[in-house]
Symmetry: C2
Subunit: 235 residues, 2 copies
DNA sequence: GAGACCGTATTGGTCGGACCACCTCGCTGG
DNA sequence: CCAGCGAGGTGGTCCGACCAATACGGTCTC
């Protein structure tokens, strides 16, 4: 029935199905947003059971490549940075000990560069948005709210840097649980004041459109947490 | 039967199972390398069918969190950077157009920093390994072989930087298919000579243990490709 | 004629069971 | 003591059925 030449057995049937679909997208035979055949049809086309095909679809779903809508069908995502790099947050959530420091180091490198780029490129609208979160952050004592505005503050800056991929990675590195875990201890040491001062410094650099100052301020900001965490683990 | 308080319906049953297992690992109830109960037992514990549980396991498998060994059982991976960031290569494989440039920009930022760190930290053994690949790269005209040694060259340097997470990300950004796709065109324009010169410059900076020179050389190296790709897309 | 309503077909989601392929480990026999 | 074998356990695959959400068409009402 199946005359495919490229079908020697390598790995599991499901794994092959995953590769097949991935290849279809990579080759452009499946465009972003396009709808796929039904699970039943896809399974029939590849000559496998619906169960195996469902596992393949589920795998590509968690990778952010496909999106299944109950009752409607299966669709290729827009394949935007946000879709594909969502899994990056999983890494942050499951990391601990020394790897948390490594992740913060990566974040420091990317965030400082992103902030520098933002200083040169940020628009007035975006800057106003940044200021909004800065003000809100300083107007409350509720840790939850502070954290939310802190996240949004950096998210806006990352977006202003103009590199969606970088912004998506930074989003993963600052994901809610990751930040909450590290910051719980950090902020308990009365780091609120220092954090606010650092945020203010970043904001000043953005207003001044000074990339080097922005880079330094952002690096110092993340570096503070990094140093603290390093000490926590070391001792 | 099930007296779980944390079991309101959110999302699909499979999705909930994924979260449950992820939570177990995040909370430390499942250690790296540890074996999980059988699929049948796990399904029974969460009160779902084996099919749904298999989808959940498959999802966590592709994320690099779990590893299923036919006939043996399901195990938690070592949760090392390499395991979890393997999926990063998928992003690179499925990206095209402008996003490729963005990915190269991220790579340039990280690779230049990693190379700078390596200049300060690289050991004689590691340096010898780097030189081995540099020599081999210059001793052949076979594109396949050049690419392989090119990859190994940068991989060694990234490893010498001492941040496994960064190395894993760079590995994903330099994955075979990604490089092959971009470099095919780039090298066809006779970029061999320039590439060799750039690699030599990076090597010299490492030998001299000069981080700033290393950073500049690496940034220029990746930047060359980045510029070329930008031009390709723009026109 | 336009719009709200409803029923049916389609499609993903879940379930249970059956069988196969592979690995492990203890038993057996030399 | 060890090599070989065999049974049991485990993941891999398949099938068929049913549930639940959606999309679409026709019908009814105003």
């Amino acid at each position: 029935m199946n005359v495919d030449e490229t079908a020697p057995q390598k790995g599991t049937v499901t794994q092959r199905a995953i590769e097949r679909i991935k290849a279809m997208i990579a080759e452009g035979r499946l465009e972003p947003g396009q709808r796929l055949p039904t699970e039943r049809d896809l399974a029939a086309q590849l000559g496998i059971s619906r169960s195996s095909m469902r596992e393949a679809i589920r795998a590509l779903t968690v990778l952010g490549v496909l999106e299944a809508r109950h009752g409607s069908g299966i669709f290729v995502t827009q394949l935007e940075a946000g879709d594909l790099l969502e899994t990056f947050g999983v890494v942050a959530d499951l990391s601990r000990g020394p790897r948390l420091v490594e992740l913060l180091e990566v974040r420091r490198i990317l965030e400082s560069t992103a902030t520098a780029l933002a200083a040169a490129r940020i628009t007035p609208d975006q800057l106003a948005e940044v200021e909004k979160h800065l003000t809100a952050m300083n107007a409350t004592e509720d840790p939850e709210e502070i954290l939310a505005h802190d996240l949004a503050f950096h998210r806006e800056i990352a977006a202003a840097a103009g590199n969606d991929t970088m912004a998506a990675i930074l989003e993963g590195l600052s994901s809610r649980t990751f930040r909450a875990r590290v910051w719980r201890g950090y902020q308990e040491e009365g780091a609120f004041t220092r954090t606010r001062r650092e945020h203010a410094a970043i904001h000043r650099a953005l207003v001044a459109r000074d990339p080097e100052a922005a880079r330094a301020a952002a690096a110092a900001h993340v570096g503070e947490v990094e140093e603290w965490l390093r000490a926590q683990i070391g001792g």
